[in-house]
C-alpha cells in the first residue's frame, strides 16, 4: 500500500488541531444550512452518502481493504428500517437501530468470509457477496422486488421530534452523520487505528509483532459495515423508500468514486467527495444516461492524474493532515 500513503503525515498536536478546526468549521456550516434556503433534501441525501463514504474510507484508507460491495450494507439497513417502520410500525429510533443492527450482523457474516483473502481478492469477494445479496433481495417477498418499499411513514423520534418537519429531519440526519463521523475520527486516532494502519503498511510485520491482524481487520470491517448501515437507515428517513438501486453494484461503485474524488485515506475527503458527486448528479440529471459515462471519465481521470483527491491535494499542498 505504499503508493497510497507515500505522503502520510504523522499525527502531531498540530495535525490534531487542524483536524479539530476543520471539523468545527464543517459542523458549523452544516448546522446553518436550514437557515440559508438551500434545498434541505439535497444536503440530507449528501450527508447520508458522506457517512457511507466515510465508513468505506475507514476500510480502504486505514485498513487497506477495498470493499466493492458496501452497497449491501446500505441496502440491507434500508430494507430493514423501511420494513420495521412500515409493517411493524415501530418508532423511528427503533427502526434505525434495527437497520443498523441488521447491517452489523451482515458485516459479521460477510466479514468472516471476505477477510480470508487480501488485496484484489478482497475486492472481488465483497463484490460477489453483494451481488449474491442483490439476487436474494430480488426474490424475497419482503423487499417487494422491483417496486421496493414505498411510502415509509416517519413518525416521531423519541415520541417528541416530528420527522415530517424537514428542518427537524435535517438536524436528526445531521446528528446521525456527526455521530458516525466522530466515531470514525476517534477510531483512526486510537491505538486500534494505529494497529490498523500498521496492518495496512506491512501485515507480516504486524503479525510478527504479535498482533492478531485478522481480528483487527474483521473489527474494522464490522464497524465500517455498521456505520454504512446507519447511513442506509437515515437515507430511508430522507427518501421514505427503500429500493433495489441501493443494493446494486453501481451504488458500490459510486461509494468508491466519492471517496476517490475526495481523497482516499483522508478524514474529510469522503465528505467533500459525496457532496461533489451528489451535486454533480443533480446538475447533470438532464444528461440522462450520459451521467454514467461522465462518472466513468471521473474515475479514469482521478486514477491517472488525481490520486490524492481534493482534500488529499490540499493537505499535501499545505503539508497538513486533513
Amino acid at each position: 500500500m505504499t503508493a497510497m500513503t507515500d505522503d502520510t503525515i504523522r499525527v502531531t498536536p498540530r495535525a490534531m488541531r487542524d483536524e479539530i478546526i476543520a471539523f468545527c468549521a464543517m459542523a458549523g456550516l452544516l448546522a446553518i444550512v436550514p437557515l440559508t434556503g438551500i434545498y434541505p433534501f439535497f444536503v440530507m441525501q449528501a450527508l447520508c452518502f458522506a457517512l457511507l463514504a466515510c465508513a468505506f474510507n475507514l476500510l480502504i484508507g486505514y485498513g487497506g481493504l477495498l470493499s466493492f460491495g458496501h452497497a449491501m450494507f446500505l441496502g440491507t439497513a434500508g430494507y430493514v428500517t423501511a420494513h420495521a417502520l412500515k409493517v411493524w410500525a415501530v418508532p423511528p429510533e427503533l427502526g434505525i437501530l434495527a437497520g443498523t443492527a441488521a447491517a452489523a450482523a451482515l458485516a459479521v457474516i460477510t466479514g468472516l468470509v471476505a477477510i480470508r483473502r487480501q488485496g484484489i481478492y478482497f475486492a472481488m469477494i465483497t463484490l460477489a457477496l453483494s451481488q449474491l445479496l442483490y439476487f436474494v433481495y430480488v426474490q424475497t417477498p419482503f423487499t417487494h422486488g422491483e417496486d421496493g418499499i414505498q411510502g415509509v411513514p416517519l413518525g416521531h423520534l423519541f415520541g417528541i421530534f416530528n420527522l415530517a418537519n424537514s428542518t427537524i429531519l435535517y438536524y436528526v440526519v445531521l446528528a446521525g452523520f456527526l455521530f458516525g463521523f466522530l466515531l470514525i475520527f476517534r477510531t483512526i486516532n486510537s491505538p486500534f487505528g494505529e494497529v490498523l494502519k500498521a496492518v495496512r503498511e506491512n501485515e507480516p510485520r504486524a503479525i510478527s509483532l504479535g498482533y492478531k491482524t485478522e481480528q483487527y481487520k474483521l473489527l474494522a470491517y464490522i464497524l465500517s459495515g455498521s456505520l454504512a448501515g446507519l447511513a442506509g437507515s437515515l437515507k430511508v428517513l430522507v427518501a421514505q423508500n427503500a429500493s433495489l438501486t441501493d443494493v446494486e453494484v453501481a451504488m458500490s461503485g459510486q461509494i468508491v468514486l466519492m471517496t476517490l474524488v475526495g481523497g482516499l485515506g483522508t478524514v474529510f475527503g469522503p465528505v467533500v467527495g459525496a457532496f461533489v458527486i451528489i451535486a454533480m448528479q443533480q446538475y447533470l440529471a438532464g444528461f440522462g444516461q450520459w451521467v454514467t459515462v461522465i462518472q466513468g471519465c471521473i474515475f479514469v481521470a482521478c486514477v491517472l492524474t488525481f490520486r490524492r483527491g481534493v482534500i488529499g491535494e490540499i493537505a499535501h499542498y499545505f503539508r497538513r493532515s486533513l
Binding site: 481478492y121 469477494i125 451481488q131 471521473i298
Partner: protein, 297 residues
Amino acid sequence: MQALYAQLLVGLINGSFYALLSLGLAVIFGMLNIINFAHGAVYMMGAFVAYFLLNNTYLSIGYWPALIIAPIVVGIFGMILERTMLQWLAGLDHLYGLLLTFGLALIIQGVFQNYFGSSGLPYAIPDYPAIGGFHGLQGGINLGFMFLPIYRGWVVIFSLVVCIGTWYLIERTRLGAYLRAATENPTLVRAFGINVPRMITLTYGLGVGLAALAGVLSAPINQVRPLMGENLIIVVFAVVVIGGMGSIMGSIVTGFTLGVIEGLTKYFYPEASNTVVFVFMVLVLLVKPTGLTGRAA
C-alpha cells in the same frame, strides 16, 4: 431427462464463457498485476463488432470472418488502452488498476447504452457453409437421449479448443516461456534483451481478444446487448476467486465446472441459479481460502 440434458448443455455453454473470460483475466493479472474490470465490457464489444460487420451495408461480413476479425479489432482497442492508460499504473497498488478499468467499463457500457438502448439486438446463427443436409450451424441433431442444437454444441467444442490452445501457447511454447518468465521477474527478462513492455501490451490484447471471442460466440445465443457483460463479469470474478489465478488449466477447469454446477441448479432448484456460483465461492473460501488451484495471494 430431456430438460436435465438441456440445462446441462446451457451450463456447459455458460461454462465456456466463464472459462474464456477467467482465462483472460488470469493471463492479464499475471503480466500486468491488474484485475481487468472492463472484461465484461470488451466481451460486449466483441458481440457488437460482429453485429456491425454483419449489418453494415458496405461490409456485411458474416459470422465466420467475424470470429477472427472481432477479437483482433477489440484486441487492438485493448492494446491502445494499455499503451495510453494502464501502463502508467505499473508499480502502483493493484487497486488502482481495478478502479481505472471499472471507470473504463462504465464509459464503454454507457456509450453503447446511449446509442443502442438496453434491449437486445438479434444476431442470426450462420446458415453457411451448407454441408450435406445442414445449413451452417443452424438446426440440430437428435442424439436419441436429447436434441442437440448444432450451434450450442459448436460453442462448447470451439471454446474448449481455444482454451486448450491458449494453455498450450503459454505453457508449452517459447513465447509462453518468455511470458511466464516475465511474470516471475520482468527486470531479469528485460536484461536478456526481451522487450517486456511490448509483451505486456500483447498480453493485454490477448486477454481482451479472448473476451471478445466469447462475445462473438454468445451473440446468436444471448442477443447483443450493451449490458450483456455487466453481471457476467461479477460471476467471472467469483470463478476467479474459486479457482485462483495461479494456473491456466485451473481457470479452464473451474470455469467449465461452475457452468455445469449452475446448469444443474437450474434444473433441480431454479430459484438459486443466479446465486449458486457465489454460494459456492463462500464455501470454497471457508474450506480452502487460497482457492482450489491458486497459490496464496
